[in-house]
Structures are given as structure tokens and as C-alpha cells.
Amino acid sequence: METIRNYLNTMFAGLPDTPEVRKAYIELGAMMEDKYTELIDEGLSENEAVGTVISEFGNLEELAQTLGIEDYLHARTSQSKNSSAKSSSTYEGSGATGAQDRAYAGGAYTGAGAAGAQDRAYAGAGAAGAAGAQGGAYAEAGAQDDGRRIISSEELCDYLSVGNFAALIRSFGVLLCITSPVCAILFDDLGFGPIGDLMESFGAAMLFVFIAAAVACFLIARAYMKPWGFFKTDALDFDRDAEEIIADQEKTLEAESTKRRITGIVLIILCFVPAIIFDNRIGAALLLVFIGVGVFLLVYNGRKKNLFKTIRTAQARAQAQDRAQSRMNRGRRYVRSGKEKKEKYYYSDRNLRTLMPIYWEIVTCIYFGISFLTGAWAVSWIIWIAAGAVKKSIESKYGEPVG
């Protein structure tokens, strides 16, 4: 199917982008796809199926008048006898050879400059129809026959809103972790006797409530992002509308991002100010709140940016595939970008599979929990070293290396 797509893209490369041309591209693609699928079902080999489909495609000249692209076609076929002749009179018979010839002619043109870019754009346009039509069924939405998925603007918006939500609650989880001891600090030694004891244990209990809530946040964020996992692993194409949205939002994000980062850093730097002003428990609590909010902003910012980085990486994968494809023409090579963050191990145990991706978040919770409860800050850092060792041993014992 990929070969057929390439063929069709080549035929359409360099044609003007009009609604008629787009529609023809989509319709012809659908017909070829139907035919290809059926031929494969009938037991033909891929090569035979592709050959049949391409040989029966016909001649783009026939569409010239319908699409209003006569001028383009005449410019292409320079040996065309008479440029004033209407397409009906330049109809050159047909047959497999005719189609083949045009394929070569088209191929030559793709080589020339901007045509290549057009080519990709049309791939997107074609998929826009296919993907948009699928509606809510994201699992299969817009999947091409060659396995390449094309993301429509609706899908992209869903991804971004879910991603934003996940980023928000994930960062909120971090905020909860950092501010978890606030109640404990505020209610510590507040009174004497049973009431004082009660308040103290309330403070300590709140610490665990905060941490539990934080873990819940991490898990919820993870569950929300799960259906979108393919953004991190697959090669994706985006249709034109989606591409515009990405570019647009990236620009907005850039400005927002700087503001968020500056605010976050300033908050963290200034965290000692309240502690200096109020030399008491309120100061200590505010210190944590300052750090918490500062880190929240930084984490949220980073997560949001990651959404777009993921998109760009998925696109890069698609482009790399296309390049590999045109080099080898057969056989798909998976090109992984080195920057891509991916789980290195697969766990057959379900609980580990859930917990390991948020391992360091959990460790952070434990670290703060234990440190604040025992006050043993001087030694509690050992947790980090222990955690590193524990992670290694879990990985080697239960994990199967991926890739």
C-alpha cells in the first residue's frame, strides 16, 4: 500500500492545491486502496497487487479538465503536441505502459525542488479525509494500510487537551509531595494535652493524605496518557489543519513558557524570604509552599513542552521512514531518535509496569515523608542511593530490556 501511496503522491506532486485536486486525491486513493485490499484478500502477492492497481490507475490527463490542471500537465509533458488542445484531444489511449511512463515523468518532477514538499502535504490532505471520517474511534483512527497513522486536527486537539490535563495534575502531584509536610509543621506543638496530641497526629496524617493524593495524581495522569502512548513510539503524519494548530500553539507556548519558567525560578530563589519575615512555623510552611509552587511551574512547563517535543519526534520518525523508504523502496526501517525518552525495560508484572515509570516520584514522596517524620535529614539522603540500587536490581530481576 505504501508503494501505491507513493505512486499517487508522485502523480499529484506539484499540482496546485485546490479543493478539486484534494478531492480527487482522496477519492482515487480510496479506490486504489479498496482494489489493493481485495487483491491481497484474493491471495495475490503484494507485488502483483501493487502492479495491478498501478497499471489500472489510468492517466492523469483524463482528469485535467475536471480538475482545471491542464496547464500544469502541459508544462509537465513538454513533448505534448499542442498546448492549446483540450485534455479530451490529448487523451493518449491508455494501458499499463501509459501509466508507467507517467510514473517516471512524475518521478523526475518530484526530484525538482519544492515538489517533494508538496508531496508530503498531499499525503496529509488525503489522510485528513480518512482520519476525520473515523470520528471517535481513535484506536484505528486514520490508520493507513501501511500502518502509518495520520493525525487529524480533532485528534490532535484531543491529544493536546488530555496532555495538558495530565501535565497539570502530574505537576500538581509534585506540588502535593513538596507541600505534604505543611500541615505537620503548622500543627506541630500547637497545644498541650490531648488536643495538642490530636492536632499533631492530624498534621502527620495529612502528610500521608497529601502523598497518597500525589500518587493518585501520577497514576491518573498516566492512565489518561496511556491511549496516546503511540505518540511516543509510532511514526505519525499530521494533516494540514493539525500542522497549523501545532505551529500556532508552539508559538504561544514559547512566550508562556518563559514567563512560567522565570516565575518558577524566582519563587524558588525567594523561598527563604517568608522564613526570614516570619521566624516561626508559618515561615517554614511558606518556604515549602514557595518551593512547591515554583517546582510546580517548572514541571508543568516542562511537561507541556514535552507534548510538542513528542509530536515533533513522531513526525521526524515519519520523515526518517519516508527517507529510508525512498532509499530502499521496500522493507520498513524503524529509525529511533536518540533523544526519545522511552522505558528501557518491560515488566511482565502488572504492578511493576504501573509503578516503575513513576519510580522516582515515589522515591521523592518516601524521602520527604521519612525525612519530615523523623527529622533525620542528615541521613535520609541515603534513600536516594538506596533507591538507585533498588531500581537497578528490580530492573535486572524483573525487567526485560526493550529494543
Partner: protein, 121 residues
């Protein structure tokens, strides 16, 4: 097997397509499949030919198109025939009958010209 010359059949692609739409709407590939099977594989319509016929006839008001999801959830463009299309189809049938009649006079499977009857002269 003798296949058909696309130059000759071109004038009747519309008729063929309209015939297949007479009883129910259909979509591109289904129509091309029906053409192939009804003609015993002697006529395989090219995708571009089919698509240009669709657009031309839609412009002329002989057919209308609409989108519909197939059983497998695939979205397809379906075409259905209009009243004008039915009328045009009947006209084309008439035309073909005349054409066939005329051409028949000049067809000789034996390769020899038939001896004229005295009555013809």
C-alpha cells in the same frame, strides 16, 4: 482474449455507470468491480476514467454524491442517480440502439463483404 478499446467505449462510460446506479447508490471501487465482472473481465475501467466520469456527471446533475460509512467503518463517497440521470440514461440507450444498428451493417465476421440483395439496390 480481445479486450475493448477505450477510445470506443469512452462515449458509453456514463451509460455503464448510470446503469449500475439504477437500483441503488454505490461507490467507486464497487462500480469498477461490477463493470469488470459484468463484462467478464473484458472491460476494466481505469480509476481516473471512473473518477472523471463521476465529476462530470455530478456537474451535469446526473448523479449526486454523499458520504457514508461502510460496514468496516471506512468512509466512502457514494453516488446515486438523479431523475435527470435516468432520463439521460434512457436517451443514451436509444442512441446506442441506433449506433449498434448502424455499425452492424458494416460488421462482417468472415472478413468479406456480404453480397447485396437485389432488393437493396
Amino acid at each position: 482474449m480481445t479486450t475493448i478499446s477505450s477510445d470506443v467505449i469512452r462515449g458509453y462510460n456514463d451509460t455503464i455507470i448510470l446503469y449500475l446506479l439504477l437500483d441503488r447508490p454505490s461507490y467507486g471501487y464497487e462500480i469498477s468491480k461490477m463493470i469488470r465482472s459484468l463484462s467478464d473481465g473484458k472491460y476494466v475501467i481505469k480509476e481516473t476514467t471512473l473518477y472523471s466520469a463521476f465529476t462530470r456527471m455530478e456537474k451535469n446533475g446526473f448523479i449526486t454524491s454523499f458520504a457514508r460509512s461502510a460496514e468496516n467503518g471506512k468512509r466512502r463517497t457514494y453516488y446515486s442517480i438523479t431523475e435527470a440521470g435516468r432520463k439521460y440514461y434512457l436517451e443514451k440507450c436509444e442512441e446506442w440502439n441506433v449506433t449498434k444498428e448502424v455499425i452492424e451493417h458494416f460488421i462482417s465476421p468472415s472478413g468479406a463483404r456480404a453480397l447485396p440483395d437485389s432488393s437493396d439496390i
